[in-house]
Amino acid sequence: MTQWPGRHQAYLAIGVIILGLIMAFQITHMSAGAGYARVGPQFFPSLIAAGLVISGGALLLKSTRSLGHADPADLQGDEDVPAVPDAEWRGFILVSGTLIAHMALIGLIGFTLAAWLLCYGVCRALDTQHRVRDLFLSLGLALALFHLFRLLGVALPSIIPGVL
């Protein structure tokens, strides 16, 4: 029973419900400030929190309809559960990793070097066939953007001011 096809969508729906409950919890801790004509700053968020719980609940109901259809063959053409493509988590981890490295490093090594790393990381995540070429082209792209935006007056962090 652990393999019912709607389970991923159901987890997501549960997540949405939890989000609504967290919101509701935070609303109860807001100081009841300038309530005006019975509508304080808590009122509208309360509606939204309720909406999250209700819409998440509706999605959960919809997902659990596939319960009992453990065999995916039963579900041909069932519009309740989207087909699951084969995932390659290597790509996901590489993109995530370079993004996190980028945010940690950009203040230290400047925009150009951090963007070079990021661009090349994404190229590798997407399984580029031309690793050496893309290494150089990523650097070129980062440098070109740095200088273009310097001319446009957008301040970007640099390790050697005005150059890199």
Partner: protein, 501 residues
């Protein structure tokens, strides 16, 4: 004809200045380029340009952003016809027949009928916008806060119930957007909401971070995880780019029909261009002279949907300019561009900023001509863009996204937010949850709250005000009908089906 008078005296006088022509050209060129490139759409591009446009005057900036919006629709058709991977939602249908035509060596006429149809539809729709907008604006002046709130509720319901495969997902998306919109200091009371004590969150989460996260980072994560192995083939233009006499004969009616289908759909909050393009496609299929050609490359199947697509984009400007209500993701981000200059789109805009409104509308006429030239004789340039290797393309998109987010405050915190929103976009794409309701909720939510409180203040806390005013009641009833109507209809059909069988 007050409208025509204002268009020619104020509008073209503004739009035809050298700098505004230049902004229009930059916008159209940029729009076509990003429309051609898969992976980044008009909404993300407009969001990315927001920080840069804050330095130029509002009229020029909005003319440029409108050019991007328009141009992306023109450029998107090139990608779907030659590559069979639609760059944006409105071009999905064009890929059906257009790519088949290209495979049969008729890529040129397919591109032509798309570009000329888009031009024709865009121009006719702009005429309709010119005539209609002042009338709607006049009517809108009579709306009070209760009615405005009701219209926003209608927009929320329509966008969530109509877009995407199941309404449940639309509403999940909408409420997440509304919730994100609540983060930050609340204007009236100064109360910080949902900041969890994080100082950086008191200003709220910037639309640039949301749009870049959902569209650029989310898209890249998704491609890296699920679509790494897809290999696509670029088709050629074929013998000639131009259409034969026969092509013209078969195209002009679908162009006009597409325009008439597309424009009204743009003006109502039904989430943009997907619905009208599909409707136009099925209409052409039914009316076709040679129905057997459908599925093998019928020119009508490109001409109609492309016209519908562009007419719908122009149609979205009617509610945006006259009511301040966005009906698509790009329109929502355009609205935040107005807000950036402290300009509130709405009925008063035609009185307070006539140069801006009429200049913008006049620039649409000019932009359409520019786009026809950019996309037909110069189409060869854009085809070269299709040859950019995908890894580098996505690498560049992610770099631009991080740059947009970082340049807001020079803080790594926005990069963290960008990544978190990107994870959200990844999950939404994985589970087929539409993004449009989230963006519309995010931008309209705080405005809806403002109108709600204003209405409650006027009525001295009496919530029945929304139901006792006839117009507000009818708008809210319409919203309720949209909410409960389709499921009721479906279960009624289900009940009948077993009896018939």
């Amino acid at each position: 004809m007050d409208a025509l008078h204002s268009l020619f005296t104020v509008g073209f006088a503004t739009a035809l200045t050298f700098s505004n022509l230049l902004w229009a050209l930059i916008g159209c060129t940029l729009g076509t380029a990003i429309g051609v490139l898969p992976g980044i759409g008009p909404a993300a591009t407009v969001a990315l340009l927001l920080p840069i446009t804050s330095r130029i005057d509002p009229t020029g900036a909005l003319i440029m952003l409108a050019g991007v919006y328009y141009g992306a629709m023109f450029g998107g058709s090139t990608t779907s016809i030659l590559l069979n991977t639609p760059g944006e939602a409105g071009s999905i249908v064009s890929a059906l027949e257009g790519n088949k035509m290209a495979r049969a060596g008729r890529g040129g006429p397919a591109l032509s009928t798309a570009a000329i149809g888009s031009f024709l539809a865009g121009t006719v729709a702009t005429v309709l916008l010119t005539l209609l907008a002042p009338i709607v604006a006049d009517l809108a002046l009579k709306l009070g806060p209760a009615e405005n709130f009701a219209i926003m509720v209608l927009a929320f319901v329509a966008v969530s119930a109509v877009v995407g495969d199941v309404p449940q997902k639309g509403f999940v998306s909408l409420f997440i957007g509304l919730a994100i919109g609540m983060i930050g200091i609340e204007e009236q009371s100064g109360q910080a909401r949902f900041t969890m004590g994080v100082l950086e969150l008191t200003d709220g989460i910037d639309i640039v971070v949301i749009a870049m996260g959902l569209f650029a980072v989310g898209e890249t994560l998704y491609t890296a995880t699920y679509e790494n192995r897809i290999v696509s083939r670029i088709e050629g233009i074929g013998k000639s780019i131009w259409m034969t006499k026969e092509d013209w004969r078969r195209s002009w009616k679908p162009w006009l029909r597409g325009t008439l289908i597309g424009f009204p759909f743009g003006t109502i909050p039904a989430g943009g261009t997907e619905m009208p393009t599909f409707l136009s496609y099925s209409a052409e299929k039914k009316l076709a002279e040679y129905p057997e050609e459908f599925g093998k490359g019928a020119i009508e199947g490109v001409a109609g949907p492309e016209a519908a697509n562009n007419a719908a984009v122009t149609g979205t400007l009617v509610p945006l300019l006259t009511l301040g209500i966005p009906t698509s993701a790009t329109a929502a981000i355009m609205l935040s561009a107005f807000q950036q200059y402290n300009i509130t789109p709405g009925p008063l805009l035609f009185d307070t900023n006539p140069e801006l409104v009429w200049g913008l509308i006049a620039s649409l006429y000019i932009g359409n001509v520019m786009l026809l030239i950019l996309n037909l004789p110069l189409v060869g340039i854009w085809i070269q863009l299709l040859r950019i290797p995908r890894p580098l393309l996505y690498g560049g998109i992610v770099v631009l996204a991080t740059m947009g987010a970082y340049s807001l405050r020079q803080s790594w915190f926005d990069l963290l937010l960008l990544y978190i929103v990107g994870l959200m976009g990844f999950a939404m794409k994985r589970f087929d949850i539409p993004i449009v309701p989230l963006i519309v909720g995010l931008i309209l939510g705080p405005m809806a709250e403002k109108h709600f409180r204003r209405a409650m203040t006027i009525s001295q806390g009496d919530a029945t005000v929304f139901l006792t005013r006839p117009l507000s009641l009818s708008i809210l009833s319409l919203a309720a009908l949209l909410l409960v109507g389709p499921p009721l209809l479906r279960s009624w059909r289900k009940m009948r089906r077993p009896q018939q069988a």
